[in-house]
């Protein structure tokens, strides 16, 4: 219980630091919001009026106090560009990113550990070398480039090499723009649109996870207790799944939390290229419009996700480890 409280307070402290750092960064930047918001021919009086209305004329300490207090109350300010509350903009975008990222993270965990396990068992054999080349290459490839390559394959390539109808996957958007489909047909349409973005995010995540899983499992697969299990008559698959995996999995669950920032970052590009209305796209649109409140809000939400993921992984670790279970 005490450990839980310590972890929680550390997480809260970290979150407060992130909120403060975003404030400091925005205030270190040259100029302030009024230079972007007022027309160039506006009088200094008008600019001062706007500064007053936005609360930018208050001392920095007061502004900082207001900013932290509003974050505590769950208010991230108002978008400069649209006048909407930042929280409502992000609340629209977050589910899209969570679904995209969550499915991809899950798939990349399953695929990544499977590849890593196969490599650990076949260590030093041709299969291991081949898979190392594949995972390292995917790991080295920028997600936006992978995404563009897939778009090229399914537009330019599909036309050039005459792909069959089933394989003509839509490369842009979340659903058919003309679609009036409902029920199952609408769901199928959504799934077809999701294939390419999910494939890119999964590939990027799986590449990284496989690299870790290989080294995490390699030590365990040849450990004495696994050899004992084999000697006592357990088949190779049973020795792997029943004896080696339970010991090697906990650190990999931590990896899931550590892989989250990567998937989030990847989704910024993927959402931008495949035109999915998620957090990444919201942030990029806001950056292009110099819409600071939205950019700051998105940063804070991303950080909160990472902090919560780390906290959950931290708390789950003792529960998962068979050696620490009573």
């Amino acid at each position: 219980m005490r450990a839980l409280l310590t972890r929680l307070s550390t997480a809260l402290f970290l979150f407060w630091l992130v909120v403060s750092i975003t404030f400091v960064l925005v205030h270190l930047a040259p100029g302030d919001a009024t230079t972007l918001l007022v027309p160039p021919d506006a009088s200094p009086a008008d600019a001062a009026l706007l500064r007053g209305r936005l609360g930018l004329d208050a001392p920095v300490a007061v502004q900082y106090g207001r900013w932290t207090w509003s974050v505590v109350r769950g208010d991230l300010g108002t978008s400069f560009a649209t006048g909407r509350a930042v929280t409502s903009i992000l609340a629209d975008a977050l589910p899209v990113s969570l679904a995209l990222g969550g499915i991809s993270l899950l798939l990349s965990f399953v695929i990544g550990t499977t590849i890593g396990a196969a490599q650990a068992v076949r260590r030093g054999r041709p299969l291991d070398h081949l898979l190392t080349v594949v995972t390292t290459t995917v790991y080295a490839a920028p997600s936006f480039w992978l995404a563009l390559s897939l778009v090229a394959l399914f537009t330019y390539g599909a036309a050039k090499w005459g792909f069959p109808e089933v394989l003509r996957l839509p490369a842009f958007g979340m659903r058919d723009p003309a679609g009036e489909a409902t029920g199952v047909a609408a769901l199928m349409d959504l799934i077809r649109h999701a294939v390419l973005p999910v494939a890119v995010l999964t590939a990027v995540g799986a590449g990284g996870i496989a690299r870790y899983a290989r080294s995490a499992l390699a030590d365990v697969v040849h450990a004495d207790f696994v050899r004992t299990a084999r000697a006592r008559g357990a088949g190779p698959l049973r020795a792997l799944a029943g004896h080696a995996l339970p010991v090697a999995l906990p650190p990999l669950v931590i990896l899931l939390a550590l892989a989250l920032p990567g998937v989030i970052a990847g989704s910024v590009f993927v959402e931008s290229i495949f035109a999915w209305p998620g957090m990444g796209r919201a942030m990029l649109t806001a950056i292009a419009a110099r819409d600071y409140p939205v950019v700051m809000g998105a940063t804070i939400v991303y950080a909160a996700m990472v902090i919560v993921a780390n906290l959950v992984a931290d708390l789950m670790l003792p529960l998962l480890d068979p050696r620490r279970r009573r």
């Binding site: 920028p142 936006f144 480039w145 563009l148 390559s149 920032p261 931008s272």
Partner: protein, 278 residues
């Protein structure tokens, strides 16, 4: 060194020579725009109407892709190496300072590092690049500013560990002054993880620079970088995919080589420590 590590080092060496040499001996200026209509969007491995051969085709202005990619490689490699090394240097300094001084300074440095590590690095990069005017210097500064935390943590741990070793105690007993102790006895023995992180960070820094440049927040055209070249081919992806694909291949090869080299350095240093290297 392992075979992949040597291969990685060799690939990087060849790339470095290519990006320096090719633009020097190139017959035409890779930035100049000539007769656009007869030379634009020539596919790879073919000739334009004037009979010039283009290994990787041409872009929408008829500029040779291969030459531009080599010119862009100078920028991408330099930014990657500089960003990663400077970041590691700053991280080493702050980490060593934190461990050496302890107290409030240590608590402050480590708290900021932890907080920055809680924000996905790309998001942090996006936030910073939204606030400051984009450009080469900004990219490097931002890469350093968002890349020092991991190294600082590692170095702090190492310095704390090394400081407790008997030879440091012996040096203290012999009256070696504090600063000299840190520079001559502690830091050299605590640098291993920083070197690994710096090497592995090169690939990462190149990827991040290309990502920012792809989004238009990094290196600005007409200065070519692999990232903004891919961005330039983005709307041509349906009719001339090579314009976006080719610079990406250069990125993949470079980052792959840097990762192989970094993995090799890590394994080699790990072997060195436990005394099991070849």
């Amino acid at each position: 060194m392992t075979r992949p590590a040597r291969a990685g080092a060799a690939i990087i060496a060849v790339l470095a020579i290519l990006v320096i040499a090719v633009p020097l001996v190139a017959p035409v200026d890779p930035l100049a725009v000539g007769d656009v209509l007869s030379t634009r969007l020539v596919p790879p491995l073919s000739r334009d109407e004037a009979g010039h051969f283009h290994l990787l085709g041409t872009d929408r202005f008829g500029r040779d892709m291969f030459q531009r990619m080599m010119l862009a490689g100078r920028i991408s490699l330099a930014v990657g190496v500089l960003g990663s090394l400077l970041g590691a240097a700053v991280g080493t300094l702050l980490g060593a300072l934190a461990a050496w001084r302890g107290g409030l300074l240590q608590a402050g440095i480590m708290a900021v590092a932890d907080a920055l590590l809680a924000v996905p690095r790309l998001v942090l990069l996006l936030l910073c690049s939204a606030l400051w005017a984009p450009g080469l210097t900004t990219v490097v500064v931002i890469l350093v500013g968002t890349g020092w935390m991991g190294v600082a943590r590692l170095v702090r741990g190492e310095v704390l560990g090394v400081s407790a070793r008997p030879y440091v105690e012996a040096a203290t007993a012999l009256g070696v002054p504090g600063r000299r102790l840190l520079w001559r006895h502690v830091l050299p023995n605590a640098l291993g993880p920083a070197v690994v992180a710096a090497t592995l960070g090169v690939g990462n820094a190149i990827l991040l620079e290309s990502g920012l440049s792809f989004l238009g927040l990094g290196v600005q055209p007409p200065t070519p970088s692999w990232g903004n070249m891919i961005a330039g081919g983005r709307d041509l992806i349906v009719i001339a995919p090579w314009v976006a694909i080719a610079p990406g291949l250069a990125l993949v090869v470079t980052v792959l080589a840097a990762t192989m080299l970094g993995d090799g350095v890590r394994d080699w240093l790990a072997g060195e420590r436990t005394g099991t290297s070849e």
